[in-house]
Symmetry: C2
Subunit: 260 residues, 2 copies
Amino acid sequence: MRFLASNTCANQLLSTLPLLERERLLPGLEHVEFALGDVVYESSSRLEYAYFPTGAVVSMLYTMEDGATAEVGRCGSDGVVGVSLFLGGDTTPNRAVVQIAGGAVRMRARTLQAEFARGGALQHLLLRYTQSLITQVAQAAACNRLHSVEKRLCRFLLLSHDCVKSDELFMTQELIASVLGGRRESVTVAAAHLQDAGLIRYSRGRIHILDRAGLERAACECYRVVRAETDRLLAVRVPNTYSSGGLLSQRPLEARVRAD
Amino acid sequence: MRFLASNTCANQLLSTLPLLERERLLPGLEHVEFALGDVVYESSSRLEYAYFPTGAVVSMLYTMEDGATAEVGRCGSDGVVGVSLFLGGDTTPNRAVVQIAGGAVRMRARTLQAEFARGGALQHLLLRYTQSLITQVAQAAACNRLHSVEKRLCRFLLLSHDCVKSDELFMTQELIASVLGGRRESVTVAAAHLQDAGLIRYSRGRIHILDRAGLERAACECYRVVRAETDRLLAVRVPNTYSSGGLLSQRPLEARVRAD
DNA sequence: TCCCGTCTGTTCGCTTCCTCACATAGGCCC
DNA sequence: GGGCCTATGTGAGGAAGCGAACAGACGGGA
């Protein structure tokens, strides 16, 4: 249980919860470990669990009838996989694939729905996360239309870098291409360009971020916008304390009083 | 008031509400009329009202720093403009522009938030609508990346056609280009192609849909996917009656009893 | 140590779409 | 009925990216 308690802190949504709410949820949580390429859910499949990534990064990919794919959203330790559970639709027409191996904490769909219906801090956080997800997807829609492969590659690398502790990313160009919705060759050219510029170094599925500031300059504005909006929406004002009430306007008081 | 009552029925979200909830909301609703090009909200501006379109169609447009624009979502009489109000972020980094002139019913932000917090039928409907919005935006992200101007034009025309009663749409190619995130000339070529194929006929901002089935065949799969998913999520099971409880599992009972 | 599978680099022709520039044409107003 | 604004048509030239085909090159396993 101590094990799990420390794990829940690795997911920002859970760690932002008032302590007592988190303790109430703890017994219903399970730790799982994801490997690269694991499928969290298939298109239109019913989810049994919601997953709160701790170290893993999950990508929501849409696959066209002809097999072409493009990423529509991604979720790291600042979010949750399975918003359709509390939004009420239960399924979504895309699949979720693990992009970066790592851990997650999972919660039964029913538990999540019941907790959401209480209208407490978790509901509040899940809704704000939902908005940040919408922002991210919307930005991807505009970016995919208007920006070059190279700029989108930068954005992708930066967003991935934000999700891990090290400067090393493990992903092949083939995989990046499927996320960016382009061909592997286009990624090769763009990556070589970034390497020539001294921004990254890579070899056989291992990418080193050498110059993060340079990457940010080379990326399109979309990275900044998504980053800023995510930070605004999921701002952890006073984490792990009762005084986070400023963030939680919806019935947090009774919940806290009751918990006392 | 009778005037408004009939108007609320023209918005599917409101018309799906149990009668008593709708009656409770009625005094807080106002009818407004939108003209083509009206701006419902600006990027990052604070919304005072949520708008439930009755005849109007509103487009959520993202504008890049260089002025290029692309549509990220649209909202007709089956939805609501201003999801950020109940999701908790209050603002969004895009603007909402009226694409098709018509009416809407508006509700004060505070009223919407208070009603949402009750956890009744409206909350349920708003959440399901939010998921359909996410689906729509996600599909746009993939479609913008993978499909040609002509296919996207077909998708756009079909979605617009779904929002109006007639076979006539009022929109210039310039406007369509800003929505599709392309140039006016590209739209001209694509539109001419569709006209040659006998699917549409147009002149100076007036587009007639001649062969809807043909348009659907010429469109990418994205139209079908969005249509199907929207229908699934916003299915009006037993509209305008109390027995819609099957759709509304979250606290509808107390709300209804209290309303009695 | 060698083999082989996977990852990356490179080329060529082709399509789509963009940039820029200008031509036509419908319809409103005087 | 003529002027003028706006919407649409067209075309040359170029950039980005696709499709396919193939060449190197790293590294794990026999």
